[in-house]
């Protein structure tokens, strides 16, 4: 690897070490906030793999989050598995589901794909609602683990992993394939890229990490039910965080998660409805004025109103 690649890696390592030391110096409240932040960042980065790089905007990734949560939850409660096994199982099952669902659904164009994934998310909730082993509508209660440190480090670990995967994708032959698919799928196929295979892998990876996040969430929150883990809001949040930060970049989703989580947290202390409203308004503003996200803003280095005005005019009728 050239020296150019060492610098960001070392910087990243530095940040991770700082974060790892975090629990020693911050309050329990901030610790919980950070765990949630890491979780949202994982979701945003995982969405980035299928949407940002590959161009297939899935509107149902909460389904994988929920599958991970329920798999881990069921294994913990009904089968007595230790967390160290139940968690990877959650990720693997979510990934397998991603492959199974991905194969037919990735053949659909643009908006059909989005709606199909949306439908899958909603269907999962309704199905789980009716199934006994998952506790149906009543939900599942986990054994309690009073160790915020465990959750902190596990979430951080998964976050580092998914970010590394994003980084690897951005610098690899595989990543070039995904990006080519995003830019022009027909041309990509003509170039020799096995598009169905590549898309499915991206989707599976996306699902796996969302599932892992869900698995940790289940144990952390201690109680899950279909409405909590198969929420449309979760999907929307991960999408807007990735888009706000810059979808298709490695660090954009992280940035978006950091900024939006923090602001939302500050508002949530006021009123839950206000926090939701905030997300809605942010989404509208971002799509209108900065659809390429903060990353593009930073890269352009031009902090003028012209940038926003140009974006506003770019897609008008």
């Amino acid at each position: 690897m050239s020296t150019k690649r060492w610098v960001p890696l070392l910087a990243g390592l530095g940040i991770v070490l700082v974060l790892a030391a975090g629990p020693k110096v911050v309050s329990p409240f901030i610790l919980q906030f950070l765990i949630n932040l890491f979780m949202m960042a994982i979701l945003a980065e995982s969405w980035n793999l299928i949407a940002g790089f590959t161009g297939y905007a899935s509107f149902g990734n909460a389904a994988f989050f929920g599958i991970g949560a329920y798999t881990t939850g069921v294994l913990l409660t009904r089968a007595g598995w230790p967390f160290a096994l139940a968690l990877p199982a959650g990720g693997i099952l979510a990934m397998l589901f991603g492959v199974a669902v991905g194969m037919p659904v990735l053949r659909l164009k643009g908006q059909y794909f989005a709606i199909a994934t949306l439908g899958i998310g909603e269907t999962m909730r309704e199905v789980v609602y009716n199934v006994e082993i998952t506790g149906a509508g009543t939900g599942l209660v986990m054994p309690i683990l009073r160790s915020p440190l465990t959750f902190f480090y596990v979430m951080l670990g998964i976050l580092v992993a998914v970010t590394l995967v994003n980084w690897w994708v951005s610098e690899s032959r595989f990543g070039y394939g995904l990006i080519a698919i995003r830019e022009d799928e027909d041309a990509a196929a003509a170039m020799g890229i096995n598009t169905p295979y590549y898309k499915t892998i991206a989707f599976a990876l996306s699902a796996a990490f969302a599932g892992l996040a869900g698995g940790v969430y289940a144990y952390w929150i201690t109680f899950i039910d279909p409405d909590a883990v198969f929420r449309m809001t979760t999907t929307i949040q991960m999408i807007i965080m990735a888009v706000f930060g810059g979808s298709g970049t490695v660090l954009g989703p992280l940035l978006g998660a950091l900024v939006l989580s923090s602001v939302s947290e500050m508002l949530a202390t006021q009123l839950a409805t206000l926090a939701d409203l905030f997300y809605g308004v942010i989404i509208v503003l971002v799509v209108l004025f900065m659809p390429k996200g903060l990353s593009d803003l930073i890269r352009q280095r031009v902090f003028s109103l012209k940038y926003f005005a140009r974006n506003l005019r770019e897609y008008r009728i």
Partner: protein, 248 residues
Amino acid sequence: MVILQARRVTKHFGGLAAVSMVDFDLREGEILGLIGPNGSGKTTLVNVITGMLPYTDGKVQFKSQTIQGLQAHEIGQLGLTRTFQVVKPFRNLTVLQNVMVGALFGARGGARDLASAHRKAEEVLEFVGLAHKAHAQAESLGVPERKRIELARALAMRPTLLFLDEVMAGLNPSEIDEAVELIKRIRDRGITLVVIEHVMKAIRKLSDRIMVLFHGEKLTEGLPDEVLNNSAVVSAYLGRRYAEQAHA
């Protein structure tokens, strides 16, 4: 030696026969000109052979391997590729990155690592004359240069057979001359070419043989002088004026 054998290639869209029972052979190293009026099925023929559209009927062998029924990417990996009539650049990538995609995924699966793909891409850009724009966003280039990106991308795939779909559309006369020279140099590298064009001057200069399509069927094929003076071809496509001018 025959590099491509196409028999009875047929493509229907509902009731419309876009391509009908087209037979032809391609000899290694030759340039076949493919001409015909708009809507005669030239691009559809290419789409079917390169795997972008399913066949209604037909059998095609490329280097003794049956390729009808294979997927587009598999055919690309065998060394058969094409440029698109309406160019399809990867807009958010640089020119160099566009060509690298071709280098990474072309014949026999392409390069395995970015570094050698990078080198290959640079070499190809030099060859087509776009090296000075290597780091520009593909989006910022005008149409003639975008056609060169398309060409470079295809060449980076190390193809044995290349279909060029109207690469000269929209070029001015001096650009056309440059394009003709470039295509000749491509042939000199050992690549067999099928050139679809409406620019007769270029077809005449480039083609070893010419095939004419009309309403999806092969009207005739043969040496340029024979074909371009063939009365059926003249009345179907070229027009009397052209024939008179050619004789004058």
